[in-house]
């Protein structure tokens, strides 16, 4: 529930036509979908306007093609696996289910960077560890999308050093360096951390728990609210601009480069 009344009210409104297929029932995305009045279904027979194709969906390419043909908006929970599997769909018409960029902590970090709180960034690192619906590559791709979104910097070079853990050494525009690293483990909990270091301080961001620590001459902690998967679905259902599978494909291509 958001702090302001209109926002709380909006969150309670059922999202008519929102369904998910192949979602792990207790995943954050599934919980957010159900909280918005959406249904988790087994087939496209159920009337819907907005379809979430979960990481567990069988034959996701065919599912996406059918949904697009029937005029539905489609989002794919695991873009990395979807793109790795055979199948042909128009990538620019399917949305990538990146959730980290929607975390309030990511938005707060982006705003803090734009406000110049820590000066000019020189390094950005992101890691995720623990339980996940997607594999290490998928998790790393989600982190990479968040890093680029938060910093607003273009990716100049990516060198992959491992696949599980999935580690990518990064060079971004303006000489900013860093990495994204992801390791999926069957644990009860998971973490996702982002740090941005700049000429006048650092931002230490816990993407999983809603807060950001600003480490400058005046240290501060910013506390935040609603979680990313829900905000992703809100953007999806309100027809807001989202990254597409075409965007994801370019990141996949970059992160495949290794030695």
């Amino acid at each position: 529930v958001a702090r302001d009344r209109p926002r709380s009210s909006a969150l309670r409104q059922p999202q008519a036509g929102l369904v998910g297929i192949g979602l792990e029932p207790k995943s954050p995305l599934a919980l957010a979908l159900v909280a918005r009045g959406g249904q988790i279904v087994d087939s496209l027979i159920v009337p819907s306007t907005h379809l979430v194709v979960g990481a567990r969906a069988s034959d996701p390419a065919m599912l996406v093609a059918e949904a697009l043909a029937s005029g539905r908006r489609v989002i794919v929970e695991d873009p990395a696996s979807f793109l790795a599997a055979p199948g042909s769909v128009p990538l620019d018409r399917v949305f990538a289910g990146f959730t980290y960029r929607f975390e309030p902590a990511a938005a707060a970090t982006r705003a803090s960077l734009q406000a110049g709180t820590i000066g000019l960034p020189f390094a950005v690192t992101a890691e995720a560890a623990g339980r996940s619906c997607v594999d290490s590559a998928g998790l790393a791709l989600d982190l990479l999308d968040a890093v680029l979104h938060v910093t607003g910097l273009a990716l100049e070079s990516a060198v992959r050093v491992g696949t599980d853990p999935f580690v990518i050494s990064l060079l971004l525009a303006d000489g900013v360096v860093g990495d994204v690293s992801a390791v999926v483990i069957s644990t009860a909990e998971s973490i996702a951390n982002l740090s941005v270091r700049g000429s006048h301080g650092s931002l230490l961001v816990n993407l999983g728990a809603p807060h950001v620590v600003e480490v400058t001459d005046r240290m501060a902690m910013l506390r935040l609210g609603e979680q990313g998967p829900g905000l992703l679905l809100d953007a999806f259902c309100s027809d807001s601009p989202l990254p597409t599978l075409a965007d994801a494909a370019s990141l996949v291509a970059a992160s495949r480069r290794d030695s």
Binding site: A129, V159, G162, S169, V177, G178, A188, G198, G201, S259
Partner: protein, 331 residues
């Protein structure tokens, strides 16, 4: 029997070793040497009236009461001073790095092997509580098979000031060799695997006129697929701040140590639990471990080969930064 110790070089880090030596059972400081004789004299007097001093390391090596020496000279001199000490029949604890180049490191490894003396590279972080306890947890299988480590240390401002030998690459080898070897050794020791490739990137944060990287970011790939990320900064703001954060993951769980604390958090299938660290006695434990090994002719707690490997990783990282591509590491 009391183990007689000589200390060569009496600068800042020597003071930490001397303080540790005071607390080491069955060891006594015989004498100190420094190329600046007045500094050697001051260090000797400050320690005890019974401590000898000299302006020559060679003279100290000739004192028969000295069983082993702690080498605290600038990095450029390590290989030569250590070789002289071994030739003189002294056990050696040498501040990191073992040497500034692989050929010198190889010579020292061979010299230690042929002499039967204990040569211990000073990778102090292995002896801090967080270093030891994480190794114990990993060896005990609390995280399963170790797969991933991230170790980040960020501090600043320019270390030692603009006149410091540390920022002269000819004297120190740069921060990858001067400080980076601590972290490169630690993560490799924790993972217990052979490194196979290094991808690194560097920054000159404080000034583009620096001849060394005061920020580096290193990714290491290991045989078997494990990976480590090491991030280090000596050019961060605020000046007095120190952030150290850590993530270690195995196939059965992971632990984190946040930037603002010495404690850790362990997460496994069995749940989440806090992990505490006792204190920070790295130098005390390091010196005690060396004295114990040398006095009893036991294997060195940190092998010369480990010091050589840390040098190898640091040099590979330097090469990777320069070439902007991954560098293979031969085991």
């Amino acid at each position: 029997m009391t183990f007689g110790v000589g200390v060569v070089g009496t600068g800042a880090v020597a003071q930490l070793h001397l303080a540790a030596l005071r607390k080491t059972p069955n060891a006594r400081l015989v004498g100190v040497a420094d190329v600046v004789p007045d500094r050697a004299r001051s260090a000797a007097i400050a320690y005890s009236k019974d401590v000898r001093w000299s302006g020559s390391a060679a003279e100290l090596f000739a004192w028969p009461e000295v069983d082993g020496v702690i080498v605290c000279t600038p990095n450029r001199t390590h290989a030569e001073v250590v070789a002289q000490a071994l030739t003189a029949g002294k056990h050696v604890l040498v501040e990191k790095p073992l040497a500034l180049d692989l050929a010198s490191a190889d010579r020292l490894v061979r010299a230690a092997e042929s002499s039967g003396l204990v040569l211990m590279p000073g990778h102090t972080h292995r002896f801090y509580d967080y270093g030891r306890q994480i190794k114990e947890w990993l060896d005990a299988g609390r995280l399963g098979n170790p797969r991933y480590v991230r170790l980040s240390i960020s501090t600043g401002w320019i270390w030692g000031g603009w006149g410091s030998w540390v920022i002269d690459p000819a004297e120190s080898g740069g921060h990858l060799l001067h400080n980076g070897v601590h972290m490169l050794d630690l993560v490799t020791w924790w993972l217990g695997a052979d490194p196979v490739q290094v991808m690194a990137r560097g920054q000159k944060l404080t000034s583009s006129h620096l001849q060394i990287w005061d920020y580096f970011h290193v990714v290491i790939g290991y045989a078997g697929g494990a990976a480590a990320v090491v991030e280090f900064s000596r050019g961060s703001r605020p000046r007095g701040g120190v952030e150290r954060s850590l993530t270690v993951a195995g196939d059965a769980g992971f632990l984190t140590m946040p930037a603002d604390g010495w404690g850790g958090i362990l997460r496994t299938d069995e749940g989440t639990s806090p992990l505490g660290f006792d204190g920070q006695q790295g130098f005390d434990r390091e010196v005690a471990a060396w004295v114990q090994a040398a006095a009893h002719r036991e294997p060195s707690p940190v092998k010369p080969q480990d010091g050589r490997r840390a040098v190898q990783l640091a040099l590979a990282a330097e090469a990777s930064i320069t070439a902007a591509r991954p560098v293979r590491v031969d085991s």
